[in-house]
């Protein structure tokens, strides 16, 4: 019962935050609201008994990415004014409304086939999950099944993930890392050499 109340409260806050993000034009405030959105999602994951995911969401979504976005905002230093004073009137509002309504009804229709949360007959529980739950502790001696799957059973996947993170760091370093080179002001001699 209390779970339902917490779920509804968190989801309502998520909806309010997203509406606020859509309607806001101040980029600084939007970044802050993104952080709040991530924190609320982390709370939702905790309610769904996924503390590992909640950890990541709170640390990466609410912490690091907010800081990175703020750093980017400080970097571009544009006046954060909206491009349009109001939405352009070249298209009518009903067209996107119809698209959203059709998509939403399709999604809601799709949820009718989704098995209930934690239902024992759900495909997620009947495939390999049973093997992990029964064998993870005797085979690896690690009580946290998530860690056992992540580091041992799916070690190859995790190696790939770590390599992706390393590659991302290398890519960022290549793109914007290091000191910015001095602006290429040519001395008189060099300019003459270029002409020649």
């Amino acid at each position: 019962m209390i779970d339902i109340v917490i779920n509804i409260t968190l989801l309502a806050f998520l909806a309010i935050t997203s509406v606020a993000i859509v309607r806001m034009t101040n980029l600084f405030a939007i970044v802050m609201l993104f952080g709040i959105f991530s924190l609320l999602s982390a709370g939702l994951f905790v309610v769904m008994d996924a503390p590992d995911v909640a950890f990541t969401e709170a640390a990466v979504g609410a912490g690091i990415s907010t800081v990175l976005m703020l750093a980017t905002l400080a970097l571009v230093r544009r006046p954060q004014k909206p491009f349009y004073a109001e939405a352009p009137s070249s298209h009518r509002a009903w067209l996107p409304l119809i698209v959203v309504a059709i998509t939403a009804s399709a999604l809601v229709y799709g949820t009718r086939d989704i098995p209930g949360f934690g239902a024992p007959g759900a495909p997620a529980q009947t495939h390999v999950a049973r093997y992990y739950i029964e064998n993870a502790l005797p085979e690896t001696g690690v009580p946290n099944i998530v860690t056992a799957v992540l580091a041992s059973y799916r070690g190859f996947d995790t190696l790939g993930e770590v390599t992706v993170i390393f590659t991302a760091a290398v890519a960022v370093l290549l793109l914007i890392g290091g000191r910015r080179p001095k602006s290429p002001v040519k001395t008189k001699d060099e300019g003459k050499q270029d002409e020649a």
Binding site: P51, D52, A54, F55, T56, A59, V60, G63, I64, V67, L68, A71, T72, A74, L75, R77, E139, T140, G141, V142, P143, N144, V146, T147, A148, L150, A151, S152, G155, F156, T158, L159, E161, V162, T163, I165, F166, A168, A169, V170, V172, L173, I176, G177, R179, R180
Partner: protein, 139 residues
Amino acid sequence: MRPNLILHVVAKFVIPLIILFALYVQFHGDFGPGGGFQAGVIFSTAFILYSLVFGLDTAEKIIPSHWLRILAALGVVIYAGVGVVSLLLGGNYLDYTLLGSNQIAGQHLGILLVELGVGITVAAAMLILFFAFAGRGRD
């Protein structure tokens, strides 16, 4: 940077706790929620908080950026190295069973080392990202 007494005192109080929590998440990930990814991110937030409060130059004195590049590669090397060691011991790649005296000990050691590699790479990569973005506007 404008000195701000309250921020400085609070940050000095909080940063050791964040690092301690990161180490707990790292090495207790076998038993509780957490692991290398989360621990690495939490670890890097301690240094990001430090550089936000005390300035980027002070933070780069603590962790020079060339160290970070070495550390980011070192984590991947540790991870892949565990696989190579298990290969040399006669097992499959990333099969930790042969690392210890029995299967449980081997798996435990392998998971610990692999998570350590993940944590080092993630922490270093996050700090590289932050320093790259935050250091871009200066100089």
